[in-house]
């Protein structure tokens, strides 16, 4: 049931991108997202697409995996598109039909937001597909550790993440076992409407939660008996190291962002472009209808 969500999944192959430092990958992903939000024309999106495509190739990840991740979010995408399309007050009207109004600015916004969402998902998927969850939690811990000064629990957060990762397969197995046990006793998880099916989950979730709490108690005791005393005064088996490759990746990403900034300066965006095409009187008439509405 979760196989279509690429966001947060790891694609275990060995590649140049996989070997990059998780900290660098996190930072660069954030930079990429910021970059995507600065794009103003289609040339910029083409640049980002090219970047993501090449990165996926280098990471030996089939590009369709990234596409699949976007597909999983199609409802949110369509919703974002429609909301922006209809509820954006613009000056250049393209279509008016009853209460439905589509303006040029609205269309522009709708395209922008949808594309941003697409690249946001692709960018983060690219990071999680190439970084094992445990490396990711390590990276997050190191990146956030300066915040320990203001008592931000960076180590605890990473520890929680890695324990959650450790217990996901165990709990899945257990859920499966309980489900089969209930099915053997005549429970029905598959038929009925959503509400009926949600209700059928209760006898599955209750024992699962009870056991999860017991596991948590046991684990806490086992950790304490192995001298766990929080993040202070602790050494690590995994050592993170920024290499030359990390700086190359950072350089390429920086170049992309520089190009995006330049593109914003020199390539006209959709609104200016279309307004340039429209004959003068039509623009005026559109403005006129707009004026009447007001």
């Amino acid at each position: 049931m979760m196989k279509n969500i690429t966001l947060g999944q790891y694609y275990p192959v060995d590649s140049w991108v996989h070997r990059l430092d998780p900290r660098m990958k996190i930072v660069l992903t954030i930079a990429l997202i910021v970059g995507v939000f600065m794009v103003s024309s289609f040339v910029g999106y083409a640049l980002v697409l090219a970047f993501v495509y090449l990165a996926a190739r280098m990471a030996k990840i089939p590009f369709r995996m990234l596409v699949r991740g976007v597909k999983a979010l199609r409802f949110i995408l369509i919703l974002t598109f429609l909301l922006n399309l209809f509820f954006n007050a613009g000056t250049t009207m393209l279509l008016e039909w009853g209460i439905l109004k589509i303006s040029l600015e609205g269309l522009d916004q709708a395209i922008h937001y949808s594309l941003r969402l697409v690249f946001l998902v692709m960018g983060t998927s690219l990071m999680t597909l190439t970084t094992s969850p445990i490396a990711l939690s390590d990276g997050i811990e190191r990146l956030l550790s300066p915040l320990k000064v203001i008592r931000f629990p960076a180590h605890e957060l990473a520890m929680m993440m890695s324990i959650a990762l450790r217990f996901i397969p165990t709990l899945m197995e257990e859920a499966d076992k309980i489900m089969k046990a209930q099915m053997a006793r005549g429970a029905d998880f598959e038929s009925g409407n959503i509400i009926a099916r949600a209700k059928a989950m209760v006898p599955l979730l209750v024992p699962l939660f009870v056991s999860a709490f017991r596991r948590a108690g046991d684990l806490a005791m086992a950790m304490e008996s192995r001298c766990y005393h929080g993040g202070e005064n602790r050494t690590r088996l995994r050592v993170l190291k920024i290499t030359r490759n990390d700086w190359i990746a950072a350089g390429v990403t920086a170049a992309l962002i520089a190009l995006i900034v330049l593109e914003g300066r020199f390539v006209p965006d959709l609104v200016t472009l279309v307004q340039g095409w429209l004959p003068a009187e039509q623009t005026a008439s559109l403005f006129f209808t707009k004026g009447l509405k007001l």
């Binding site: 969850p133 890695s162 990762l165 684990l219 050494t235 088996l237």
Partner: protein, 280 residues
């Protein structure tokens, strides 16, 4: 021989409990011995285990591990490093997503330098014969293998005592053999003291000395053979007697002159064969 663990007049009452789980327990564990602690459910044997690792602190009395009193907060980590503990549920004591990293967990907590850590992990995994699984995710292992990983995690911390709190209770017979033989080998070869808490008679029979717990008190103590001959008393404490000891007693009652102290099928076979040879 030196005493490595001393339990002196210990009483322990759980919070919100009216009756103490342990009352006036005194015992000593000698360095290098394999001590089995037997008892049915609720006899206080698990409570005793947790007192030996400073997970619980006695309500009354004192527990001393390797010269450190468990009540002494300054030496809490010394106690836990010296007396490693393996728990019942193999899943609930593995912290990391990779075997190697789980073995590292205790070392990370003790702030062992990286180079030494790597070396100690390799040694510990080799000692429990899990080197081939160093990079495996724990959920892909069998119960017995998980318990061996847990043992490696303790072993890497270089303890003098290993306390196993019903470490085989959730395993299948082959997993049980695998774990017990690993522990026995460590006891023999590395001289690590073992406190083996169990309700399996067959396992207790392999120990140097057995303590039987009942109602929070030490009921019997002695060599396995001495203990298992006291069938009536064991039954009273809801403990099973090893099948062969049981059978030997029945046969003796029927007039077969079998000697006392038979625990295993092999011993029984040998004694019966001897009798057969004599009768010819």
């Amino acid at each position: 021989m030196k005493e490595i663990i001393t339990v002196k007049d210990v009483t322990f009452t759980y919070e919100e409990a009216t009756e103490p789980a342990l009352r006036g327990v005194s015992l000593a564990v000698q360095e290098g011995e394999f001590l089995a602690v037997l008892g049915h459910n609720g006899s206080g044997k698990s409570t005793l285990a947790k007192l030996l690792n400073a997970l619980y602190i006695p309500t009354e009395g004192h527990v001393t591990v390797c010269g450190f009193d468990t009540q002494d907060d300054d030496h809490l980590w010394d106690v836990r490093q010296q007396a490693g503990m393996i728990f019942q549920n193999p899943d609930n004591q593995i912290v990391a997503t990779v075997v190697r990293e789980d073995v590292a967990f205790g070392l990370e907590n003790l702030a062992v330098p990286h180079a030494e850590m790597v070396q100690r992990i390799d040694e510990a995994l080799a000692a429990v014969r899990m080197t081939d699984f160093a990079a495996a995710p724990p959920h892909m292992l069998s119960g017995g293998q998980k318990q061996r990983v847990a043992i490696a995690g303790i072993l890497a911390m270089q303890p003098r005592v290993i306390i196993a709190d019903e470490a085989t209770a959730m395993l299948d017979p082959s997993g049980r053999r695998e774990v017990l033989s690993t522990i026995r080998r460590l006891n023999r070869e590395k001289g690590i003291t073992v406190v083996w808490i169990t309700h399996y008679m067959e396992e207790a029979a392999q120990a140097d000395r057995v303590i039987v717990m009942n109602h929070g008190q030490v009921a019997l103590t002695g060599a396995p053979r001495e203990i298992f001959e006291q069938t009536a008393q064991l039954r009273e404490m809801h403990l099973d007697v090893p099948h062969m000891t049981d059978l030997a007693q029945d046969l003796r009652a029927e007039g077969m002159p079998l000697p006392a102290g038979i625990l295993t099928v092999d011993e029984m076979t040998e004694e019966v064969c001897k009798l057969l040879c004599q009768s010819r």
